[in-house]
């Protein structure tokens, strides 16, 4: 279908424009940071040994030149784009000369692993319960779920997370409360290591599920309770379609389209990391990395993390747009 290819091409141009604008904005914001990476390093060096002011001055000049900060901003911007096309974000300034991308690749699996599982679990549980609550509006059990969800929803995430740390780490210490894996396990493809990762992920993941579920639950319940009153559901009932099939393929199927769009966007958001989760549970990941980079004035690293999240979110939306005509036959391509 050539019209679909044309549509995909147009959307791809849009995607490129969004990534260009987003990355440029990230560049400006990173450069606006009042923390200078050079001063951070000098501070670290002079902490250990006293140096003469001239030595400090020459150190400052050397680092400024080394980091490429002595040239005008527009040239830095052009250099940045030149490098980006080769997939190179440049060296991290605080951990010089380790490439920023290496630091990111080290942190990424933790964040992506934890958040993918958490986001998908949240989505499935929230939508399933919400959909059932919308269809079986008189069920006591599902009403109770609604009450619990509406009770947790307004509590700030960090409070829920800390409460879980207190409950499962202190009052009833059954789960590890910090780190990505146990200290005494050697990283590698061993069953102990995998089990240790899963064990450590239970608390952060379930805190995310608990807090995130409500949004999906209420959204889906509202969508479904609108749809059950539609004529075509009554009509399916009178056509003798089984109730189980009505719930799954007439009610949930129609309600799920907007929820799928939102899921794709949530999945794109994974690459931004979750700063609060990673801080509360001392979990290694992009959020922790980003905080370290911001505090150290490491503009390259901040820029690299932001670029990756801009690209991920924009690409996720792009993919959803391409899939939409297949989910909803009414969407005209073109």
């Amino acid at each position: 279908m050539p019209s679909f290819i044309l549509f995909a091409f147009k959307r791809f141009l849009q995607l490129a424009a969004v990534i260009f604008a987003g990355t440029s904005l990230a560049f400006v914001v990173a450069k606006l940071s009042p923390i200078s990476p050079v001063e951070t390093i000098i501070g670290r060096v002079t902490n250990r040994a006293s140096m003469s002011p001239t030595a400090i001055q020459s150190l400052r000049e050397t680092y400024t030149e080394l980091f490429g900060l002595d040239i005008p901003l527009w040239q830095q911007y052009l250099n940045f784009w030149g490098r980006l096309f080769t997939g190179d974000f440049g060296p991290s300034l605080v951990a010089y000369p380790t490439p920023a991308i290496d630091l990111i690749l080290l942190a990424l699996p933790w964040t992506v692993g934890l958040l993918t599982v958490a986001v998908i679990l949240t989505w499935i549980i929230g939508n399933l319960l919400g959909g059932l609550a919308g269809y079986y509006q008189n069920s006591r059990l599902l009403k109770a779920v609604g009450v619990v969800a509406i009770g947790i929803q307004p509590i700030p995430y960090y409070i829920v997370a800390f409460l879980m740390v207190i409950i499962f780490g202190y009052l009833w210490p059954v789960l590890p409360i910090s780190g990505g894996f146990a200290m005494n396990v050697r990283p590698g493809f061993t069953p102990q290591f995998v089990l240790s990762i899963l064990h450590h992920a239970i608390l952060p993941a379930s805190s995310l599920v608990l807090v995130g579920m409500g949004t999906w639950f209420f959204g889906m319940r509202a969508l479904v309770s609108n749809i059950v009153t539609e004529d075509y559901v009554t009509y399916a009932e009178l056509a003798g379609v089984e109730q189980r099939k009505i719930v799954s393929s007439y009610v949930m199927r129609n309600a799920i389209v907007p929820q799928l769009t939102a899921l794709a966007m949530a999945l794109g958001g994974i690459f931004s990391g979750t700063i609060i989760t990673e801080q509360v549970f001392a979990y290694p990941g992009l959020g922790t990395l980003l905080i370290r980079a911001v505090n150290g004035g490491d503009t390259t690293l901040v820029l690299a993390v932001s670029c990756i999240s801009v690209i991920a979110v924009a690409t996720a939306i792009f993919i959803v747009d391409l899939l939409h005509p297949f989910l909803d036959p009414r969407v005209r391509v073109g």
Binding site: E230, Y232, A239, V241, Y250, N254
Partner: protein
Amino acid sequence: MSTLLEVSNVSMRFVMGGLFSRNHIDAVVDANFTLSAENPEIFTIIGESGSGKTTLARMILGLEKPTAGDILFEGKSAAERNTRAARLAFMRRVQPVFQNPFETFNPLKQVDRYLEATARSLLGARSKADVDAAMDDALQKVGLSLKEIAGRYAHELSGGQLQRVAIARALIPNPALLIADEPVSMVDASLRMSIVNLLKELRDTLKVSVIYITHDLATAYYISDRIIIMQKGHVVEMGPARTVLDTPEHPYSQLLKSSVLSIDAAGMGDLRPADRAMAEAAWSRAGQGALVARDDGRMVRTA
């Protein structure tokens, strides 16, 4: 003579509001009529919006439970159809056509999936060939064919086509009674007559009884055998369609008839609301009196 449908003393009251401000609406009050199994007819329920027509239809379909009275279809009430098998057996005999063809079909499903579901669950067709044959057969009855509509979504068909598909779907299990709730009010004026003629044909050739719910006097006049006129939940006049509509006796029936727009009058710039005295007579008598039988076969509510 056996009865197909017996509606006796049926009332429906909706309670609205909460603990302190309780309000109720009498959607249907004390409705009585019977349809015979041997003489298929088009039985029209006419009245303005909110007069209880649709509520009555929903009660006959078993979607609402009447507050009082009994609705017996082939001698059984909705409460007696408490197993899935019994409900399926009922749906095989009674089928609906709804008002808005665009809402009747799931926008994300091909319309023939409804036909297929009906053929499988109500007709018991198993093989693909049987299902297709049943679908095509029903579509032929309404002047369509399976080829035309297979794989099409609701937004790809016109309102008239969709309404025909809806009727075709209702015909698949060979029902004895079709409940058509304002089947032409959302359809283009030019296609309206084709649907109305179709209902007439169903009665004459397939011997299907039709409960035709409408607020359109002209089509009611054209196809009805018997008619009941409803006002605010009350039946105000019922009887043979010609008798009632030629010389309406209840003030509300007269008001309805005089409110029909005449194209000639409109062309001459002469459209006026109904006579004020007539309208007041109709409204002041709403819900009063009791039904009294007349010699010409009609029943009229008189004070």
